[in-house]
């Protein structure tokens, strides 16, 4: 077993060495962080406020529907063949979510046309996150 333990048995404190804190905000994903004092989502590239951390950050983003063959080239001639290397647009669309300020592509979803967007893709328990960081172990 690994010699490194997630929680030291000696003092019972949680190992938070993997957490990135920047400008007082906890990094949550590659492009999102949370300000625990203000309870707000932020873009990690431009610091744009993306709304209440207790709600969905996606509502603060801007969204674009992409024709899949723009990203996934058919490679073989779509005039000649029923199947190519591109997704079938009747079956699949690409949904791109951008930061409204710096336009960073925060998320991408592949969905059938009209399928409800995955709004609540990340809902964190803010109270427990605050408690995790209250001890200042990070």
């Amino acid at each position: 077993m690994s010699g490194k333990k997630a929680m030291s048995a000696e003092n019972g404190k949680m190992d938070l060495s993997g957490v990135t804190i920047e400008d007082g905000k906890v990094a949550i994903t590659e492009y999102l962080s949370i300000d625990l004092d203000k309870e707000t989502w932020h873009c990690r590239r431009c610091d744009q406020n993306l709304g209440s951390a207790r709600g969905p950050y996606k509502e603060a983003l801007v969204v674009y529907e992409r024709e899949p063959s723009e990203i996934h080239d058919p490679v073989i001639d779509p005039e000649k063949y029923a199947f190519t290397y591109a997704p079938d647009p009747d079956w699949c669309r690409i949904i791109e979510y951008y930061c409204p300020q710096c336009a960073t592509q925060v998320e991408v979803e592949y969905l059938p046309p009209g399928h409800p967007l995955t709004l609540n893709d990340l809902v964190l328990d803010i109270d427990s996150l605050k408690a995790r960081h209250a001890g200042g172990e990070a």
């Binding site: 077993m1 690994s2 333990k5 997630a6 190992d15 060495s17 993997g18 957490v19 990135t20 990094a27 949550i28 994903t29 590659e30 492009y31 603060a60 983003l61 801007v62 969204v63 674009y64 529907e65 990203i71 996934h72 080239d73 073989i76 001639d77 000649k80 063949y81 029923a82 199947f83 190519t84 290397y85 591109a86 997704p87 079938d88 009747d90 699949c92 690409i94 791109e96 979510y97 951008y98 409204p100 960073t104 592509q105 925060v106 998320e107 991408v108 592949y110 059938p112 009209g114 399928h115 409800p116 967007l117 995955t118 609540n120 893709d121 990340l122 809902v123 964190l124 328990d125 427990s128």
Partner: protein
């Protein structure tokens, strides 16, 4: 008629049923439970006695771990099945109650959660059964996935180990053996329409005594499959590998005593679970929702939704897959719940905590919720030979969800990784080989799946399958000695074949295959993702694309190229677009091909998929693009319209200013073309699935499942199994209608 009965009457009936069991099916309790068994008093006493001697326990554990690895190597070296030769197996040690405590470091880690069920079945039903029993020297085998397995093509072999007349552990090995006498050769019949099309179905079965196989049972098993020699060889190599682990376990008992051995086996399980809980504790509490879409049953294209909500609360993880597609009662793409749990465990063993011991306790703090009768928890009467076609997408759903919790975890033992390529893209073959033997099996180069991008680096090309951390793709020359297939293009990395992103996925390879020197040879292909990508990127990274099966028929390339070798092209793109062989028929299909006989010199062409991308393409280091260009794996179109990098294609020199300007312009363009979320969602969202796509599973409400049309639904807790028409009947009906219209 009423179901209510007087208590005495009910118990009489129950007594009668208990005394007159007509048939032992899979035990629902054993199959549903993946927790570690409650320790016995003997185990607890042993752990207690050795709790201050962790250095010695560590030493013993390493000795037993080495024994597992040694036995793994033995099977890999001795086994005749392609799966054995290229590492699609494990070897391990189980507690006296049947929990897998240690297994070989390499190989198919899915088995580490799946190997327990047949052992537990034998303990529950055979140990005290006077006509069977469990005695020193007994050999047990099984292959029926409904009793615990990935699929029926895998065969397990276990031996009990006794000390002073008591069972102290079991040792075992499971191997992907391949051929198993199903309706199609090779052991993974995509064409199976019922469990009875899936070939050999061994429940846990005593096949030998005194460490020898019973000749009558061996003969029966050999007669049940198309490769009788391989069946015997596979059994022998597993038996001798198990005998080696048994010998090593007995050496540990001799050197340290039985108490130390029991303390190590039980302590490994207990410590592993405790450590997983400690690690989960450092993840943020919360919920992640993701939706994944499988696009085929392997026989027809349908959209199969996998809905996945991962909740982490303190030291527990709940994977809720309710709202996913109903089962397909006459298609092979359903999974037994236990098989899928094994696959999900692989994620944690290989991609999240690869430093933990390979045992089932890793998965113990994780709960999996499914709708009974769904494709992810199918009934016993649904075929499951191609369970991978739903449990791989389920794996991908969880792999897609976990980074959103793991990124902010206090403790990690890996990088954050996007979604691996998840399909077994290779050829299954069957027929008479050049030695006039009938063979049927699978090419091991399915193991060359493209690795996903990680937070800190690109994915590796064709690196490893999602179900085995260490596995080989096999040597083409060795394969050609045994089968008449020639890979004209065996493993050629394809341009742009990956998920794009700040870090890109690893690329997969393309294969162009034909055969010669046989009049009876055919192919199968078992992959989905020809209409809808089967795997995805994370944090703004893209998926890889789609992958068709391409064929060139009505040609013998050996004949037409005899005097004009220049006709050959070395990419699928060039062959399909240039159509260089005169009078040949060129076609592209989804990559679920049931067994199909082919003529010598015809071409079958497939593409191994790439891994998902990580992060925004506009953040990709232009120097990485220049390197990919030099390596010939990225096109100009992708450089210019996706990455927005400006470079000199001859020298590879980057134009930094022009790149920054192009990227700034693209950021502006993004904001110009995008809409605020609410406005977009209002325009985009429909109440029901589209009418022109056969859609299965929930839409917005996870408690209502669609059954192929926007108008037909069933409740998720009362699923109606789906019956699909034969694709040939569908085609005949369409042709008849066309004919009728033409005649009218």
């Amino acid at each position: 008629m009423t179901n209510a009965k007087a208590p005495s009457e009910r118990s009489l009936i129950e007594q009668f049923l208990d005394d007159n069991v007509l048939f032992l099916g899979p035990d629902p309790q054993i199959m549903a439970d993946h927790s570690v068994s409650t320790p016995t008093a003997v185990e607890l006493a042993a752990v207690d006695a050795w709790q201050d001697r962790s250095d010695e326990v560590h030493l013993i554990r390493n000795r037993l771990q080495t024994a597992c690895n040694e036995s793994f190597d033995m099977v890999e070296q001795m086994g005749a099945a392609p799966g054995a030769k290229w590492g699609d197996l494990i070897a391990g040690i189980f507690s006296s109650q049947g929990d897998l405590a240690l297994s070989s470091a390499g190989g198919v880690l899915i088995f580490s959660v799946l190997a327990q069920h047949p052992v537990k079945f034998a303990l529950k039903y055979w140990k005290d059964e006077p006509t069977v029993g469990i005695n020193d020297g007994d050999i047990f085998m099984h292959n029926d996935a409904r009793y615990g397995n990935i699929h029926n093509t895998d065969q397990s072999l276990t031996l009990p180990v006794f000390h002073n007349g008591e069972i102290v552990c079991f040792v075992g090995s499971i191997v992907h053996e391949g051929e198993n006498g199903a309706c199609e050769p090779g052991g993974m019949p995509g064409g199976a329409e019922s469990p009875y099309d899936e070939g050999l179905k061994m429940p846990p079965l005593k096949v030998g005594e005194n460490f020898e196989f019973r000749k009558d049972l061996l003969t029966f098993l050999q007669n049940s499959v198309r490769e009788p020699k391989l069946q015997m060889e596979g059994m022998k190599s597993k038996l001798h590998a198990c005998l080696r682990i048994k010998k090593r376990a007995e050496e540990v008992i001799r050197d340290y005593g039985i108490e130390a051995f029991m303390a190590t086996i039980r302590g490994t399980l207990t410590d592993t679970e405790a450590e997983v809980r400690r690690r989960l504790q450092t993840w943020p509490n919360g919920k992640v929702l993701t939706n994944v879409f499988a696009d085929s049953t392997l026989r027809e294209n349908v959209l199969i939704k996998i809905r996945c909500e991962v909740s982490k609360q303190n030291d527990e993880l709940i994977i809720d897959l309710r709202g996913s597609s109903p089962e397909f009662l006459n298609r092979a793409n359903n999974t037994v719940l236990a098989s899928m749990k094994g696959m999900l465990a692989q994620l944690f063993l290989m991609f999240i905590w690869p430093d933990l011991p390979r045992n089932q306790a890793v998965f113990a703090p994780i709960t999996v919720l499914t709708d009974p009768g769904s494709a992810l928890n199918c009934s016993p009467e649904a075929p499951n030979a191609q369970s991978m076609m739903t449990f791989f997408p389920a794996f991908t759903a969880v792999q897609n969800a976990v980074p959103k919790l793991l990124f902010a975890a206090g403790f990690r033992s890996t990088d954050i990784v996007a979604c691996w390529y998840n399909m077994i893209t290779t050829f299954v073959y069957g027929g008479f080989n050049q030695h006039q033997e009938f063979v049927g099996n699978v090419c091991a180069d399915l193991n060359g799946m493209g690795g996903a991008a990680r937070a800190t680096r690109d994915g590796e090309h064709s690196v490893a399958p999602i179900f085995a951390s260490m596995a080989d793709i096999g040597e083409q020359e060795l394969i050609e000695e045994e089968v008449p297939m020639m890979k004209l293009v065996p493993h050629k990395v394809m341009v742009d074949n990956c998920g794009f992103g700040k870090q890109r996925g690893g690329h997969g390879y393309q294969q162009i295959v034909t055969h010669k020197d046989t009049d009876a040879w055919g192919y199968m292909v078992n992959s989905i993702g020809a209409k809808f990508p089967s795997t995805y990127g994370i944090f703004g990274g893209y998926a890889p694309g789609c992958y068709p099966l391409c064929k060139v028929k009505d040609v013998n390339v050996f004949d037409v190229m005899k005097d004009s070798r220049d006709l050959m092209r070395f990419t699928i793109e060039d062959i399909m677009n240039e159509q260089p062989f005169p009078d040949a028929t060129y076609s592209a299909h989804h990559a679920g091909l049931q067994f199909e006989l082919a003529e010598q010199g015809e071409l079958y062409m497939i593409t191994q998929g790439g891994g998902g991308g990580y992060g925004d393409v506009l953040e990709r280091d232009p120097a990485d693009i220049a390197k990919d260009w030099a390596d010939g794996i990225v096109s100009k179109k992708t450089i210019e319209t996706i990455y927005f990098v400006v470079m000199d294609y001859n020298t590879g020199a980057l134009n930094k200013e022009a790149t920054e300007a192009a990227r700034a312009a693209e950021r502006k363009a993004r904001l110009a073309r995008a809409k605020p979320y609410k406005e977009f969602a209002a325009e985009w969202t429909k109440d029901k699935p589209p009418a022109n796509v056969p859609y299965y599973g929930s839409w917005d409400d996870p408690t209502v499942l669609y059954l192929g049309t926007p108008d037909k639904t069933c409740p998720a807790d009362a699923i109606e199994p789906v019956m699909m028409p034969d694709p040939k009947d569908v085609e005949i009906a369409a042709l008849k209608a066309e004919l009728k219209a033409l005649k009218a």
